[in-house]
Amino acid sequence: MLKFEDRLVELRPGETVLEALERAGIDAPSSCRSGNCQTCLHRAVEGVPPPESQVGLTQGQKALGFFLPCVCLPTSPLTITRPDNVGARRDAVIRAIEPLAPNVIRLRVDADDFAYRPGQFLELVVDGDLRRHYSLASHPEEDPFLEMHIRLHENGRMSRRLGEFKPGDRLHVAGPSGTCFYEGVHADQRLLLIGAGTGLAPLYGVLRDALKRGHLGPIRLYHGARSRDGLYLDEELKALSRTLAHVDYRPCLLDPDAPAGGDVAATALHAEQDVKDCAIFLCGGENLVRRLKRDFFMRGVSMKNIRSDAFTPSG
């Protein structure tokens, strides 16, 4: 049995999921139709796609049920959805909202039945139509709330609304999305986490998840900020790296006089020459993520070892 969201789709014997979707008139993009280009990517929300329909996907994607309809001959019932479908909105109540740094707040909300992996992001919905994506710094097994670190923009609509919120106020969340989480990493692999600004939120989630799952290899976390205030978890992370011998926290204050640009990307690229076997997580603005991804790939890191989440600015 095959379902596309709420709709039953007839699946003939020997037919791929892509063929069935097309025959049912469902708009499903495709290109190579042989399991390589990933244009037709979909996600199973119920049921388990056969392993041959997940070849070439990342461990994170596999764990979330992503698969390739063009090479999927289901052997058991499947309910599938488009890859960017964040699902139904859920009610959420603000538990705490407080400043972490000038222009950065920590928002904690309570939401029932919101399953996620630390480092994924959710969609926060306010007033019905105001929607933004924020990464999750909390851990589902340790925190009863969802935690986000949010940069406030002077004239941003969401920023203004967040400024008015107080504990007890209601909003909605949807998701989660994203594959920047601790999956497919070996326990003794070296972990390299690099982020700027509120890109620390997902990395902090990943760091906690790695520790919770007993990661043994060295973990190095670079956090970049324009000013000292922007290193908003400085004390906590310094304390953590004093307590745990395999955790090394590297705060990076922007230094415009430094020869290579002095930002966190330049600092990390300079310090991390031998990265071939690292599992790398990158979070922050698009330029930062693109530059680091490319440079580490060119230094020999396989893309399956680079997980990233690029933030697009919106107030």
């Binding site: 190579c32 139709r33 390589n36 693109r290 991804k293 790939f297």
Partner: protein
Amino acid sequence: MSNLYERLGGENAVNAAVELFYRKVLADGRIAQFFDGVDIDQQIAKQKSFLTMAFGGPNNYTGADMRNAHKRLVAKGLNDSHVDAVIENLNYTLRDLGVPEKEVKEVAAIAHSVRDDVLNR
């Protein structure tokens, strides 16, 4: 005699080649500009489907996708010399992996056969 794709090692050969190949392309000053701002993850998936085709593997190549994918680049000046450079990098990749010359030539011949689609002519 088994077919080219099997002789090369099938899907494992594609997996072994794709990142090596793409690194060479990105490091090649003659063609790197065409990949500016392109997302590496998406590009690797596309290169994988190109290599599968060039290795004689299972594909549904029609030419239309190849034309559409390169239209924007042709407008930016993509020409025969760039296609040559890509195939050259493909040859180097296969030699690095120890593929015999006979198979290297066969792969190059398939890659050459899509030249007109790539260049939209």
